[in-house]
Amino acid sequence: MKNSDQLRIPHSIRSFLRSVVGAIGGLLAGLLICRFAGESPGKVLTVLLNSSFGSGYDFGMTLFYMAYFILAGLAVAIPFKAGLFNIGGEGQLTIGALAAAWAGVAGAGIQSPVLAVLFATAASFLAGGIWGAIPGYLKARRGSHEVITTIMMNFIAAGVTSYFTLYVLKDPDSSQAETIPLSMVFQLKPFAVFNGAPMGGLILALMAMTLVLHLVLRNSVWGYRLKATGENETAGSTFGISAPGAWLSSMFVAGGIAGLTGLVEVLGNSHRFKIGFSADYGFVGIAVALVARGNILGILPSAFLFGVLQKGAGSLDLETDKVTRDLTYIIQGLIILGVASDGLWELPARLWRRRNA
């Protein structure tokens, strides 16, 4: 890419292209590391691609992981607009998932699948939203730092969910720590092409939701309030934009979206709440949002990339002799590094300018 061209490309597209190049650079660096472990990078890449695109089932599983990461990524990216760093996604998503399982028990009499799914969606969103709004409120009212409060809320969420799972909603027929299974009306149907992978129309709904969120945040007054608060809270309040309002509302929406994980996990996959179902998806969401550079639409490709890596992790164990699932964590780290080292792009331009000065 030449400098003269760069000037004509709109900022958003340039920023997107930089992220893509950064991510590919990180991926290539990660693959090169395999050489040191004595495994050929080409083979590792093939395993990763095959494991995510090799069959309908594999692709369905990749989309299934992607669904977790879309939600967890949005839960970080939205408050980030208002200048908050939400690392409570893990707690918000477990609470949301538990609420979905509760909805299945409380709404056992519901006959219509549409009503059942709407009820569970509302329960997950509200539960996650309230869980997110608590740190938002503490920040707005007391100025408590959200990094501290959200991470503490994660532990409280773990305690609350295990109490409900073991003593309130416990499945008496199971020796495991899990809730009563959902009835058929609550279960989401997967697509047949995915041949057994637990993913269906939900992934399309989540993509549409992301698009809508992107438009809302860009064009609505609410989106403007978040942005004004995030960019400069003092300047915002001079113009009559309430920072506490932006904090509280963004944390509520973020928590609610994280809570929708209940749809992916409980309605779509296990049809019940199991303690420890999440492989720290809430924390991976931070990385997803980082790679997307906080851009709402960017969450989609970023979540997909993390889905590919999550699906590939197990396959690396299976298909290669010298590298294990841990390699994907190295690759994730390098991709984040590749995307985050944004300043490097300015280096040639600066040198060029200096030479012509």
């Binding site: 590919i24 599983m61 532990f155 057994g196 420890g276």
Partner: protein, 333 residues
Amino acid sequence: MRNLLRIHAFLPLWALAVLSVPSASAQLRVGLVLERSGKDDKSFNASAYQGLKRAEKELGVSTKTVEAPDNAAYESLQRAFAEKKFDLIIAVGFHQLESVKKNAARFPNQKFLLVDEDAKAPNVRSVMFEEHEGSYLVGALAAMHAPGGKIGFIGGMDVPLIRRFETGYVAGAKKINPKVQMLSNYLGVTGEAWNNPPKAKELALDQFNRGAEVIFVAAGNSGVGVFDAAADRKKLAIGVDSNQNWLKPGSILTSMLKRVDEAVYDSVKLFKEGKFTTGLIRYGVKSKGVDYSLDEHNARLVTEADKKQLEQLRTEIVKGKIKVPDYYLIQKK
């Protein structure tokens, strides 16, 4: 970029190449799917892995071990093994129950071994351990070594499985000393509970301060913290799952063994001999599938009289004279 696209374009060919590699010999191929905690958990998964490695060495089977990165991967990995036509697929841990059920139905000719749950499928051999029976024996031994009448229990997460250890343990202790007092703590409510030795040590020190003389710990990796505390205070601890006596010789009274390694090895051996059967197999004190460990590290702690008494209890359990309370049945009531 162009190179990447080219690889993409040839993907179906790659896939074909991978699939069409013929199995080099008639060697038996066994695939092992471990839980998230993996083969280095010094406990349950480690034991399964050792059992398989022993089978590889002694029975000449070819093996492949994978560690699942998340709970949804259990199904993918078992399925990948089945598609690669492995002869036997071993799934370790109760988390894999649902996925084994699904895959057993999808691949009706594929044989599975599931450890720690009952899949109730015609092509699955399910192995379950009577943890409460083994815990009963170590509970009795704990009471014999607690003249003050106070013993402790430290569990990982408060889940039914660990409650099953606890109820068996108390019952065994009460058999020896009906007035025995029990202190009980659980480490936490997240997966971290299985991997938090410092907290386990604090809890153990607290229990020792309150007068406990022996502490039984069923908390995965966190157990080492309890062993540390026992060594510091010159008190006793009891290990779990694999033989942990060597970790702090002299401070570990015994370990409540859960012979996952035996279950894995036996199943592979039976498979090789063509005697593999499906259905539920229970490993209790009778088959020594759960047991207390004796070795050079605790030889000076467990006396001949102790052993005699324990063996007496074992026979009574086997004969049905002693009914060890089973938490799985208690919670259903």
